[in-house]
Amino acid sequence: MKRLTEEKITHLHGAGGAVMEKLLLEHILPKFSLRRAGPIGLDELDDGAVVDLPPGKLVVTTDSHVVKPLFFPGGDIGKLAVTGTVNDLVVMGARPLALTLALVVEEGFPIADLEQILASAASVLSELGVPLVTGDTKVMGKGELDGLVINTTGIGIAENPVSDGGLRVGDYLVVTGPVGDHGMAILAARNELPVETPIQSDVAPLWPALERALTTGGITAMKDPTRGGLAAALNEMARKSRVGIEVWEEKIPVRPEVQGLCELLGFSPYELACEGRAVIGVAPEKLEEVLAALRAHPLTAEAQVIGQAIPEYPGKVILRTAVGGRRFLEMPIGDPVPRIC
């Protein structure tokens, strides 16, 4: 008979003793093929990691992930936790150098699920060639949290860091692919839709697709449209850059199935989260070069120019609608779909 501690997470798994060590050594560490970025890494199970720094500026980001459900079409919380942090580094213009991962697990959580989640986190990192250098595991009592929370912290190196406030009047706004897939996929996974849909989350790390575009020097501002979607990202960019932004509705890529469900549900696709897209400000003289670099990679092959920074209405986003009307695209009030990332 299998013992309870081999099937489900118990408080012993977070107690720092032999049971926890067994969990780490047998179930967690082996998933990750790259485990160091310097003399001390994951294998040492030390109090921290020591990382060799290449030249450039260090970029740090952190994010806690609480998606519900933990498994959704196109991914799971493991893939999301790693991707989210990698993408935050990428939109800062940084090459991801190393990640940390901290688990907070509810007592009774199936170890097989945890393994599957960590395996998918690990496969994203090994494809990117980014090591996991340190981590942490805590267990909370039954009912004290909903399954699993994953925090990831990432460091990256940027020669020329990109902020989300660097837009200048005349810069073009580019979105790297259709918007709203992740938010709609999560809704579908929660069985909150009146119809079945094949929509998959777009969760994917952006580094391989954006690496070349970053070397053009034409990127003036960048943001990943996660919570609050495209509308929140554009509003933040306009506000911080102190410029207006005009976007053209007919140019914004939205999959027909996402658009159709939005019509049905009264949602705006511009407010739904993406997890594998970037909104990029591009200097006009570099536009062709940046687009060519993006379109050369399958993840960003559908990149589109959707608008331009304008001198009027600084801090605001204006949407020119398909029928030729103009209105402000406001900052979303809340997220139409909570707990998405």
Binding site: E250, P256, Q259, G260, E263, G266, I318, L319, R320, T321, A322, V323, G324, G325, R326, R327, F328, E330, I333, G334
Partner: protein, 362 residues
């Protein structure tokens, strides 16, 4: 879906825009619609920016949640406090009565449930035979057939209805007879008109000499309807025109209208912000009195309106003010912290303006 996108065709939209500019009379024009869904289309697609400067479009009393009187809300609250399961539409739970909202009553222990239809409330009654279940029936001629249908279908003994259904044509008449009147034409709501038919507006159009155009809900539907209204004004005509013939007939839905006659009688009703309008409300016929929640629970709301200080919802509902004319709009009154009913209801003009644009005429 493809059909919907045709109704957003940019080239056709440009041609309608030309017609709007050509037909607009050379004087200030106010066109009033009475439908939250129209307002959403107008705001979402930025249609006001396509109109000539002198043409204004306002939402009147088009949000059923917004026009429900404090009196009826207070009745619902009292019924919920008396231990019934109170079922109603989502937005209704957030509208303030004179003491509190239904949501607040729920927090204090009342059993208030959100349903999508009258039939859902009947389901709840069947599942809880030992408890009285009350459906707080709000809405215009669009939701009233659902209420009538469940009553006509012999609902269980423990099912009651607090009827607060309101009728659109008398409201149009009231707006035109409350001075100062500055309404040049109406867009009639497409959904209501599928039920009552375009013919239902003829009397008002003739009596007040006002053009009334039945409009659909896609951007081109609205632009088409506006252009017909402007053409009537330019040519000095005042008629009912149907710009939504793919859904609306002259007579409307005969089965629904028959159900109305079977279940309801017409009487005066209080509209929040407007006051009493004769013949604008539905009441249960004597045959259905045993399902009348007011009678069962002995509740009658107290007359008179509680109005939050500074709130201009009344003028917004009367189509005498834009949401942005209100000093509270967007400052203390937002969808997160609504003060007046027009900010609570998702079909309320203030709520829609806040969500879609803030200042729709860009």
């Amino acid at each position: 879906m493809a059909e919907i996108f045709q109704l957003r065709d940019p080239l056709l939209a440009r041609r309608f825009r030309e017609l709007l500019w050509r037909w607009a009379p050379n004087r200030p024009v106010r066109i009033v619609h009475v439908c939250g869904t129209h307002e959403i289309t107008i705001a979402q697609h930025g249609l006001r920016s396509l109109l000539p400067e002198n043409v204004e479009v306002l939402e009147g009393p088009g949000c059923p949640v917004c026009v429900t009187s404090t009196q009826d809300l207070d009745c619902a609250l009292r019924i919920a406090e008396k231990g019934a399961i109170l079922c109603t539409f989502g937005d209704m739970t957030r509208v303030p009565g004179s003491r509190m909202t239904l949501e607040e009553a729920r927090a204090e222990g009342a059993d208030v449930r959100v349903v999508l239809s009258a039939a859902d409330a009947v389901e709840i009654a069947l599942r809880n035979p030992q408890k009285p279940v009350v459906f707080f029936a709000v809405g215009f001629e669009t939701t009233a057939p659902g209420t009538a249908a469940v009553l006509a279908n012999r609902p269980p003994e423990n099912f009651f209805v607090l009827v607060s259904h309101k009728l659109i044509p008398p409201a149009l008449g009231a707006l035109l007879s409350t001075p100062p009147v500055s309404i040049d034409a109406f867009l009639a709501p497409g959904h209501v008109s599928t039920v009552i038919g375009a013919g239902a507006y003829r009397e008002i159009s003739e009596k007040f000499r006002v053009p009334i155009v039945v409009a659909g809900f896609e951007p081109l539907d609205i632009l088409y309807a506006l252009s017909l209204a402007l053409r009537q004004l330019r040519e000095g005509r005042a008629e009912v025109e149907n710009a939504y013939p793919r859904a609306v007939t002259e007579e409307g839905n005969l089965r629904a209208k028959e159900l109305f006659r079977e279940v309801f009688q017409v009487g005066p009703a209080i509209w929040r912000g407007i006051g009493e309008i004769p013949d604008s409300g539905f009441y249960l016929r004597e045959e259905f009195a045993k399902h009348d929640a007011k009678r069962e629970f002995g509740v009658e709301g107290k007359m008179g309106e509680e109005k939050p200080p500074g709130c201009r919802c009344a003028e917004v509902l009367m189509a005498k003010a834009f949401p942005t004319d209100c000093p509270l709009y967007g400052k203390v009154c937002t969808p997160m912290t609504p003060v007046g009913p027009c900010m609570v209801g998702s079909e309320g003009a203030c709520n829609i303006w806040y969500r879609y644009s803030g200042r729709p005429r860009l």
